[in-house]
């Protein structure tokens, strides 16, 4: 993936230089290995900060909300879908954007990598094709990227961008063999008490920092329901039922919109796999409405249109 870096720099330099865009949004190398930082470049001479590697795990559509400039941006599969959603939901205009599409080979799960390093802090990271190397105090390990993909990347069905002005490489084959919902299906067969305790357990360490909410491009409401006070839908303490209510509603507000980009899970300081909530919604959207979010600008979002023939079996 690192091979995209040069192309991104080159094109960003031209786009900024020719005045085709006012700013360029991408990633730069962070101060901590495995942590890249989203960056907005304003001058052609700064483009060498830009980078693309297997640690670009956030969702850059998050940085587009209500911006007014002409913006150049890099987008892999999932990010491009969130850009589509942003355009459909009037958070940004298509003609404001110049999208450099990146056929994505998947990104890596930094927690799994750290686990492979016995959770010791790293000093360096480099990658080369299908392998990457981590370095720490007194150790160095070369690992296979394939074995460290994030769980959402493992089952991703849209690795090629769905919207772009240029594609920076040849499309990659889509991975249609895997079942993205095997985990959801497994849980679906459990009795209610098992499900409840599974989810109670899942969120038991949540500190309500809202990183999951804020990392998600879908969450741009001026006032989030958790902050509403008249009425107050959910208490603000770490009472388990309030935390559960937060998670249910956060996920539900992503219904029909979530692209399973995994940004929410990536940012959680206590590693809560909260995609288990959104994935159920994604699965039902697919099964009941044949819907996957953000694939095209041609259809309105799932909850913004209906068919008279919609699924009705659950209604008396």
């Amino acid at each position: 993936m690192i091979r995209y870096t040069e192309k991104i720099r080159e094109r960003a330099r031209e786009l900024l230089g020719q005045g085709k865009v006012d700013v360029f949004i991408g990633y730069k190398k962070g101060t901590v290995p495995l942590m890249n930082q989203p960056v907005m470049i304003k001058r052609a001479e700064d483009v060498d900060q830009l980078l693309w590697d297997s640690n670009c795990c956030l969702n850059l559509a998050n940085y587009l909300t209500k911006r007014t400039e002409k913006i150049g941006i890099v987008a892999n599969g999932c990010n491009s879908r969130n850009i589509v959603i942003h355009i459909l939901e009037n958070q940004i205009k298509r003609d404001q954007l110049y999208i450099l599409g990146i056929p994505c080979e998947g990104t890596i799960d930094h927690r799994a990598v750290l686990r492979a390093a016995d959770n010791q802090e790293l000093l360096g990271y480099s990658e080369d094709g299908k392998e990457f190397t981590i370095r720490g105090a007194g150790f160095e390990k070369t690992l296979k990227k394939e074995e460290f993909l994030r769980t959402n990347c493992k089952t991703c069905q849209h690795r090629n961008p769905v919207i772009y002005d240029e594609l920076l490489g040849d499309p990659v084959p889509e991975n249609t063999e895997v079942d993205p919902f095997s985990d959801v299906k497994g849980l679906e067969t459990q009795p209610p008490e098992k499900k409840w305790s599974f989810f109670q357990n899942l969120i038991s360490k949540c500190i309500r920092c809202y990183a999951c909410r804020n990392a998600c491009p879908l969450c741009y409401c001026p006032t989030c329901f958790v902050d509403e006070s008249k009425p107050q839908w959910v208490g603000k303490s770490i009472d388990p039922i309030d935390t559960m209510t937060f998670h249910i509603l956060r996920a539900y507000h992503c219904a029909g919109r979530c692209t399973d980009c995994g940004a929410c899970e990536r940012v959680c300081p206590v590693a809560i796999p909260m995609r288990q909530f959104t994935k159920k919604l994604n699965k039902d959207a697919k099964e009941l409405f044949d819907w996957e979010a953000g694939l095209t600008l041609e259809t309105r979002p799932l909850f913004d249109f209906y068919k008279t023939s919609d699924y009705n079996e659950f209604i008396y």
């Binding site: 849980l187 208490g235 009472d239 039922i241 509603l249 996920a251 159920k280 959207a285 209906y306 919609d310």
Partner: protein, 143 residues
């Protein structure tokens, strides 16, 4: 000791099911007394937050009822609602709310008998599950 009987929050559309409940009343049809009715202007007005709020406050069941598809007073509110409810029901049941706690129906204002039938069905289903177990907000569990 009183025998337990379920408390069910019912969000009934003003233009149809609420009328059906009325009609059932004037027609002296019997139906279970377990419902706390909240009159709403449309099933489309029922936010998932309302449903969660009901469960949080200890409702043993929730029932939302609106106009038949095509009959919405606002033309299409119930069509939008149907999509929302389909996914909400799936999610709530996935996290452990038992199937049989959350119900939806389309009942026109003329359908007093259907109202009675569905009300009975809902009350029986919730009753069979016993008191609500999950998502009930108690006194804050904090230090």
């Amino acid at each position: 000791m009183n025998e337990w009987s379920p408390k069910i929050t019912a969000f009934l559309c003003n233009w149809c099911t609420y009328g059906a409940a009325d009609l059932a009343g004037v027609s002296r049809l019997q139906y279970p007394p377990n419902f706390r009715v909240i009159r709403v202007p449309c099933s489309g007005r029922v936010s998932p937050k309302f449903i969660l709020a009901a469960f949080r406050q200890g409702a043993d069941g929730v029932w939302v009822s609106g106009c038949h598809p095509g009959d919405c007073h606002y033309l299409e509110g119930n069509f939008y609602a149907r999509r929302k409810f389909a996914l909400l029901k799936g999610l709530l049941e996935h996290i452990g709310i038992e199937p049989g706690r959350l119900h939806f129906s389309w009942i026109s204002s003329a359908e007093a008998t259907k109202f009675v039938e569905v009300a009975t069905k809902v009350a029986n289903a919730v009753g069979a599950l016993g008191p609500a177990k999950y998502l009930i907000k108690q006194r804050a569990e904090v230090a």
